[in-house]
């Protein structure tokens, strides 16, 4: 972990180092590192922003150029804010209407499994729940989740996701990880992320059931990070929430396995990362513990713009609403052509969901050697060269953890203001120039 952290920091300083106006053979930096749709050019949902503007500046409630459903929604939200202002603190768990909308959203999503608004806590960003002791965490994984665990005094216990097995969670591997942790720490929780980051793998029902059974048997608290649940690309795949699968497994699991599910307004259609709106739903938590959780959350008000974004996420315009036609067109998301896969030395599993692709790159031995001579990880070297020479900003796989001797890059799949043609051409050009360099 210390190494991952160190690499992340090197990478981070690499990022800032390059923004200094030095002359380069390109005019624009193409940044595909972040899962930040709007930073990448995605236009925000008009309905969401209109509602927010009306909440911020209630004079707009009388502005007839705003659709009626916008004004109604804003009015309803303001009515539940203290003093009728979004500048007030909100009580726990958040603006009541928003908590209700979220619970209804969850229930609809999960085919009718009920969700209690009193078990939903709205938080600043989907990060949520800190941990102490051992937490099983996937590898490769988004480094910040591991860093959160470490930063809070917890011990990450990595379980491998094998590329050869399509990045699926394997129970034998969970067992191995648990056993390896013996004597090192006391594992208390199992963290899963579905759809995966960086893998993009979407868990099937059987896999989720197996994980739940494992958690039940080994008495682990389940942390399900489901922030990419609205990013599913492969046809015939459905996102199934941990809660739904748990409920549908019936007793004893459904009443006993303790689960916290996280979602956020940062990804999916909303893409409102900057608003920091997220929630956690607590299932089967001891009521006495929940009381303390509420105390902790009471010190940390969720920002109101984030709550408004959650309201729109949970309860978007419906057929018949004036804003529905415009909302409907947004679902037309362009997909990245998997040109990388057509390059020699690059292979990737079909990306099913999530926001990223995580292809494997076979680096030429000379490049690997050069990297080692410079004292850096080969994939960092590759990404730095890609950045310096071609203006393409990818993240190296070592930041997420990868099998020894393999190298990956992670990139965000959605680009909105850059023609894919250009991006793909650049990648091709660069790859071949790298091959040239290496030989």
């Amino acid at each position: 972990t210390a190494e991952v952290e160190a690499n992340a920091v090197v990478w981070g300083s690499g990022q800032t180092h390059l923004m200094t106006g030095v002359k380069k053979p390109y005019t624009e930096l193409i940044d595909v590192t972040w899962g930040d749709p709007q930073g990448a050019g995605l236009k925000p949902l008009t309905f969401a922003r209109q509602v927010l503007a009306a909440c911020l500046y209630p004079k707009l409630l009388n502005n007839e150029r705003l659709p009626a459903d916008v004004r109604q929604r804003a009015e309803g939200l303001l009515h539940e804010c203290h003093g009728g202002s979004v500048g007030s603190y909100t009580d726990l768990p958040g603006i009541p209407q928003v908590a209700r909308q979220i619970s209804e959203f969850i229930s609809r999503r999960d085919g009718g499994v009920p969700s209690d608004p009193d078990h939903i806590l709205i938080s600043p960003g989907g990060g949520g729940g800190g941990v102490r002791s051992g937490v099983l965490t996937p590898q490769p994984s988004y480094s910040l989740s591991v860093m959160s665990v470490v930063g809070l005094g917890g011990v990450p216990v990595p379980y491998q996701l094998w590329e050869e097995q399509g990045w699926e969670v394997q129970v034998e591997e969970l067992n191995r990880a648990l056993e390896a942790a013996e004597g090192e720490c006391d594992p208390v929780a199992l963290y899963v992320i579905n759809p995966g980051n960086p893998s993009g793998h979407v868990q099937r029902r059987k896999s989720i059931q197996d994980v739940i059974k494992f958690a039940s048997e080994k008495r682990l608290f389940l942390l399900a990070d489901e922030v990419y649940q609205d990013c599913i690309y492969k046809e015939n795949i459905e996102f199934l929430s941990y809660k739904r699968v748990l409920a549908e497994m019936g007793p004893p699991f459904c009443d006993t396995v303790e689960l916290a599910s996280f979602h956020s307004a940062s990804k999916g259609l909303l893409g409102e990362c900057g608003f920091r709106g997220g929630y956690v739903e607590l299932v089967n938590m001891d009521p006495a513990v929940m009381k303390h959780v509420f105390t902790i959350f009471s010190k940390d008000n969720a920002p109101t713009p984030g709550q408004i974004a959650l309201s729109v996420m949970a309860s978007p315009p419906q057929p018949g609403d004036p804003s529905y036609p415009l909302y409907r067109t947004v679902n037309n998301v362009r997909k990245v052509h998997e040109v990388l896969n057509s390059l020699p030395g690059v292979s990737s599993h079909p990306v099913e969901g999530g926001a990223f692709a995580f292809p494997r790159i076979d680096l030429p031995p000379k490049a690997i050697q050069k990297a080692k001579d410079l004292g850096m990880e080969p994939d960092i070297f590759y990404c730095l060269r890609l950045l310096e020479d071609a203006g393409l900003f990818f993240t190296p796989g070592c930041e997420y953890g990868q099998k020894d001797g393999t190298y990956h890059v992670r990139y965000a799949k959605k680009r909105f203001h850059v023609e894919y043609k250009d991006l793909n051409t650049k990648i091709k050009q660069y790859y071949f120039s790298l091959a040239g360099f290496a030989s």
């Binding site: 930040d36 709007q38 995605l42 008009t46 927010l52 503007a53 911020l56 500046y57 502005n63 804010c81 203290h82 003093g83 979004v86 007030s88 603190y89 909100t90 009580d91 726990l92 768990p93 009718g112 009920p114 209690d116 009193d118 078990h119 600043p124 960003g125 990060g127 729940g129 800190g130 102490r132 002791s133 470490v150 005094g153 208390v188 929780a189 008495r219 608290f221 748990l246 019936g250 007793p251 004893p252 009443d255 006993t256 303790e258 990362c273 900057g274 608003f275 938590m285 009521p287 006495a288 513990v289 303390h292 959780v293 010190k299 008000n301 969720a302 920002p303 713009p305 984030g306 974004a309």
Partner: protein, 557 residues
């Protein structure tokens, strides 16, 4: 920069990985198989009473009509993984009185009222929390206009918005990723906003330079404060970090210290002298603390919460000298810096005073100052906007700080945008200037008037003694509670001032926070009441408090 200057907050002295984080999961103490059994039944209805101890929703009671069995198939109820015994013990010690049990009861009463249940009052008045808008204070029009324009840029074509608001909005959007408030910002905050904050600080402090690299945009001031405390807490046993906090204090500090497992070192403010700081008392506190912990930080809230005192310049200098001598990291919570009402009182920023004391101090004393969009004349609590400035921080530690804040990605961008407006408001000559000044003046002078009124009325009540409310948003009067009432409270297992405040709530609908939530000298009792309700309502409130106190005293004499 002298080589002999030693940083006491050096990487050697701190560890990011420490023992008692905020969490709601189990401690390392091993799981107990015989732990408390699941106490909820599968068919429990959704309760509509208070947040606490709610019945859990049953996952089997879906509309599909799955069978509703009472226990698992073999009839044994299964203990939970996460229980009071297995959870982090420090979390259990966290209390936050401002939203604690009395507020929960107030929420219940509100519900009962709305259901038509008769009460001896028509409405619950929540004078417990420093939430200006909730009490009717109006937002600054210009700020809301700019934020609306930033949220929905189509409005830039709307001619009902003034040009200066539009220019600000364009400038803010330009500095956001994808020209949108919805994109992540750099973890330290939007660069141009940090630059504007630095310029504001320089102007405020009469030219003392401010480096934007020392500015971190935070999620309210609380986020910055907790982050700094995380950095400061380390060590075991006698080397465990001790943090000095004023008594009375804003309970975020005690809650954060409890969660982090740091040692809380109390120093008492001098009630007889309008709650001023007394260096002798600071000295006493730190001397005593050195016997069982390692004092590393000193927290000051100026203007004070709950006490409202505005520190004199001399006092601030004395505190700085004290911190230098005792090698303490200074934490200056200055969120109420515009809320100064009393004649002869003025806000002096710790940073300004530090720099005016010359290089012996300005180059050595480590300081973090905090500000926020939640108070002053803005009152925009819901946006969670804030910043902190770090002075003289060790470079390696700063690197760790930057890394630490990156874990939460970034502070809410609308809050950052708002902070930009606060530090860069309309200027003379701009279209919105006059109305901005008018609104700001109206809000601040109303607060000053209410501060005076509160002190006046409460001091007419025998048994209530209220120090002048020099600044901030609260009064913290001392109340005399009759012995009989103290007795009854203790029998009920309640703090006497909690008992008093609960009674007041039930009889008058007024929700205050008992002094025990903030800390007070043994044997004294107080309550904290905000001065935020509109002046007419405030008058009624104060008179009701007066009535209640007299009745209560009578009843328990």
């Amino acid at each position: 920069m002298s080589a002999t200057r030693m940083r006491f907050l050096s990487p050697r002295n701190l560890r990011l990985v420490h023992r008692a984080p905020r969490d709601f999961l189990g401690a390392c103490s091993g799981r107990q198989p015989g732990g408390p059994s699941c106490s909820t039944s599968l068919t429990s209805p959704h309760s509509v009473s208070s947040h606490m101890c709610r019945a859990l929703s049953s996952l089997t009671s879906s509309r599909r009509g799955l069978p509703k069995e009472k226990m698992s198939e073999n009839g044994i109820s299964r203990p939970k993984v996460l229980t009071l015994d297995t959870m982090n013990p420090t979390v259990k010690m966290v209390e936050y009185a401002v939203r604690g049990p009395i507020v929960q009861r107030a929420v219940e009463l509100e519900r009962e009222l709305s259901e038509g249940i008769e009460k001896p009052f028509a409405e619950v008045i929540k004078a417990n929390i420093g939430d200006a808008h909730a009490m009717g204070q109006q937002p600054i029009t210009f700020f809301r206009q700019v934020l609306a324009l930033c949220s929905y840029p189509e409005l830039l074509n709307d001619n009902t918005f003034p040009e200066d608001a539009k220019n600000r909005a364009r400038r803010i959007l330009q500095s956001c990723g994808g020209s949108s408030l919805g994109a992540y910002s750099p973890s330290q905050g939007i660069d141009s906003v940090r630059q504007d904050v630095a310029n504001y600080i320089e102007r405020r402090d009469g030219g003392v330079p401010c480096d934007p690299e020392n500015i971190y945009l935070t999620t309210g001031a609380s986020d910055g404060i907790v982050t700094m405390l995380k950095l400061l807490v380390c060590g075991q046993g006698i080397d465990r970090t001790g943090v000095m906090i004023s008594i009375p204090q804003y309970p975020l500090y005690s809650a954060a210290l409890a969660e982090l497992g740091a040692v809380q070192i109390n120093y008492y403010l001098d009630e007889e002298n309008c709650w001023s700081m007394d260096i002798n008392e600071l000295q006493r506190a730190v001397n005593e603390a050195r016997q069982h912990c390692h004092p590393r930080a000193l927290c000051i809230i100026n203007p004070g919460n709950p006490t409202g005192q505005v520190q004199s310049r001399q006092c601030i200098e004395d505190v700085i000298r004290f911190a230098a001598k005792e090698r303490l990291f200074l934490m200056a919570d200055e969120v109420y810096q515009d809320n100064v009402y009393a004649e002869g009182c003025q806000f002096h920023s710790f940073k300004k005073v530090l720099f005016e004391m010359g290089p012996e101090y300005s180059e050595t004393v480590e300081l973090a100052s905090f500000h926020s969009t939640s108070k002053c004349y803005m009152g925009e609590c819901g946006f969670r906007g804030g910043y902190m400035e770090v002075i003289n921080m060790d470079d390696d530690v700063k690197f760790q700080l930057t890394k630490l804040v990156s874990v939460r990605l970034c502070a809410p961008v609308p809050g950052q945008a708002l902070m930009d407006l606060v530090v860069n408001p309309p200027q003379p000559g701009e279209p919105s200037y006059n109305s901005f000044i008018k609104e700001r003046t109206a809000t601040l002078s109303a607060l000053a008037e209410k501060a005076k009124l509160t002190e006046q009325i409460l001091n007419t009540v025998p048994g209530i003694r209220c120090n002048p409310v020099q600044g901030a948003m609260y009064s913290f009067p001392r109340i005399t509670i009759p012995q009989k009432a103290i007795q009854e409270a203790l029998e009920k297992g309640q703090q006497p001032d909690m008992f008093y405040c609960m009674k007041m709530l039930e009889e008058t609908g007024i929700c205050l926070v008992p002094g025990s939530g903030f800390g007070q000298r043994e044997g004294t009792y107080h309550f904290r009441m905000t001065i935020l309700p509109p002046i007419d309502k405030l008058k009624i409130l104060l008179n009701k408090v007066k009535e209640f106190h007299q009745k209560f005293t009578q009843q328990y004499s």
